[in-house]
Symmetry: C2
Subunit: 340 residues, 2 copies
């Protein structure tokens, strides 16, 4: 590996001069700077991030924490798109992205805490998404002195970027009501997260605001992104004697389970039952009928998170800690019928 030392020798200057020349410091003559740059080029010099990090305590590396719950973390399209746009901004600002995990200390995998891992790698900042934010280790990291941005969850006094779940559900319900539906069910995940709670209370409020009846049976539970649960919840709804005409699901993927259940029962979508998803995954647009859903501006969420985090890293003093709320939009597919 050719280092600054080799360039220094080649040019007959000190290592310090080489460092300054390459990093654009002012107190180096143009002549020397050019000589150094030429030598660096000629010798095939590659900077060494480890040395840089060691000396400066800045890694230009951002840790990303997400949990590979049920082995499908990355295959969650919401997270994948988010990470993609986050990465694009990070790349352009000179930051790399490394996944945070439970490390390996003394050869025992998983023995490090998330915070330890973040410190071990000297991450300049951390993105947290799709994790159990109530987990003590997750909290520890979020509340540490490392700059952090959380997605869809807000800690006291930390930066967060959240989608407007209340508004999203409200708009979906209003849309369905506008299409003439009065019996609207909501299959929801009662996992205790802010997201779930916001959505559920928004659903209830909107329904009552519209003067629509909401029997308890219209609120079955099912986990996010699980077709099986959605299928069961749907079967239950279909068996009601006063069955709903329209069903909202917690996300697009589980909606597929609902669709399968409805079709198994020999019913037509949207002729007999209308369905509504949440998220706006791409396949939804290519289904027949195409899926009516709340399309989350995932790219925008990722970009915003990256900008906020980098701003927090580079200008902690000037950056206001805030919760940024980003609105989605109803995508009017073909899965909700006009009735009444």
């Amino acid at each position: 590996m050719v280092s600054m030392k080799d360039i220094a020798k080649e040019c007959g200057v000190s290592v310090a001069a080489v460092s300054k020349a390459l990093s654009g410091q002012p107190d180096i003559s143009e002549a020397t700077r050019n000589k150094v740059k030429a030598a660096a080029e000629k010798l095939g010099y590659q900077p060494n991030s480890a040395a840089k990090v060691l000396r400066t305590h800045r890694s230009h590396n951002i840790g990303v924490l997400y949990v590979d719950e049920a082995h499908n973390g990355l295959t969650n399209e919401f997270f994948a798109l988010l990470l993609n746009s986050f990465k694009r901004v990070a790349d352009s600002r000179g930051y790399d992205i490394t996944f945070i995990n439970k490390g390996l200390s003394d050869g025992n995998p998983g023995s490090m805490s998330y915070l330890s891992h973040a410190r071990y790698r000297s991450f300049d900042g951390v993105l947290m998404a799709c994790v159990d934010f109530t987990n003590p280790e997750v909290r520890e990291l979020a509340l540490s002195d490392i700059p952090v941005v959380t997605i869809d969850y807000s800690y006291e006094n930390r930066m967060s970027v959240c989608s407007d779940n209340s508004l999203g559900i409200r708009e979906l319900v209003v849309y369905c009501a506008k299409m003439g539906h009065r019996k609207i069910a909501y299959v929801h995940d009662n996992n205790g997260t802010q997201v779930s709670e916001e959505r559920l209370s928004s659903f209830k409020e909107t329904m009552s605001g519209l003067g629509l009846a909401l029997p308890d049976e219209y609120l079955p539970e099912a986990q996010y992104r699980r077709t099986e649960g959605a299928k069961k919840a749907t079967e239950m709804l279909l068996s009601l004697k006063d069955r709903p005409t329209c069903i909202l699901y917690p996300d697009d993927f589980s909606t597929l389970g609902g669709i399968a259940a409805i079709r198994s029962a020999g019913l037509d979508i949207p002729g007999d039952i209308s369905v509504v998803g949440y998220d706006g995954i791409r396949v939804g647009r290519h289904l027949t009928p195409s899926l009516t859903t709340l399309r989350q501006p995932t790219e925008l969420i990722g970009e915003t998170a990256a900008q906020k985090l980098i701003s927090l890293i580079e200008n902690p003093a000037e950056t206001r800690i805030e919760k940024t709320v980003i609105k989605g939009r109803v995508y009017e597919g073909e899965s909700v019928s006009k009735i009444g």
Copy 2:
């Protein structure tokens, strides 16, 4: 930051003794080792990877190169699943994962080569997937002295893990033929990659091996993962006077475009036209009809790649460079009808 120096002071031993005690070296008494460990715990010691990397030239960090072509890299379910299982193995072996990009030198984003970036971060090894393997910079990285594993492409004398594309296509065609189809079309991406070429020639061979006619019009082109192209190709196929009864698509996602086109034409799947995908993405199983496809053992590919790469990193001498071929399996969905 508390370092070994602090522990050394606390325990009244040298920094070297601390290092040895913590890393399990033999020439340290049990008494000292325990004292050091206790002090480390008490002071909240965190090791520093930068210093370790600088000294040892081992980062325990693996670079992953994939190209965010059309901004959807990670949302490619094949890659996401692959990366997920790769990461799981890497995590358990104590390796982190960092994305490779074009870095930022002199403040110009994208100015570093992939290889420079890999050296800059001292990656112990590199995984390459979903990239243009003919790109000179990609080649440069693959053919460097850094241990590398490529997915679905083989360089001379480099480790690779590939899915068995020839077999995959053959099995699909044989399955369709067994279901009674004789007029089988193949919408394919003619992008010049090994994958595409293997598949196309396997298709041609299998068809001729089965004695099935293959007019040129049965081989329209369309890009991977683009519904639009698949739609156009399908419309063309439907307009033929001797139209196929079964259409193979390059991947599941583009199959959705084909399905939409077939339904737009008022035709039933699989009653009028049968369709077949490739990959085995999860939504395919939840469509109606569920999608017949070649399910790639993506998890296995990712795990294998991780094992091979780590083996290459840790035991370069004992590790044989090889191309590992992994077979997929036909998933018999409902999108191919039995005819004849």
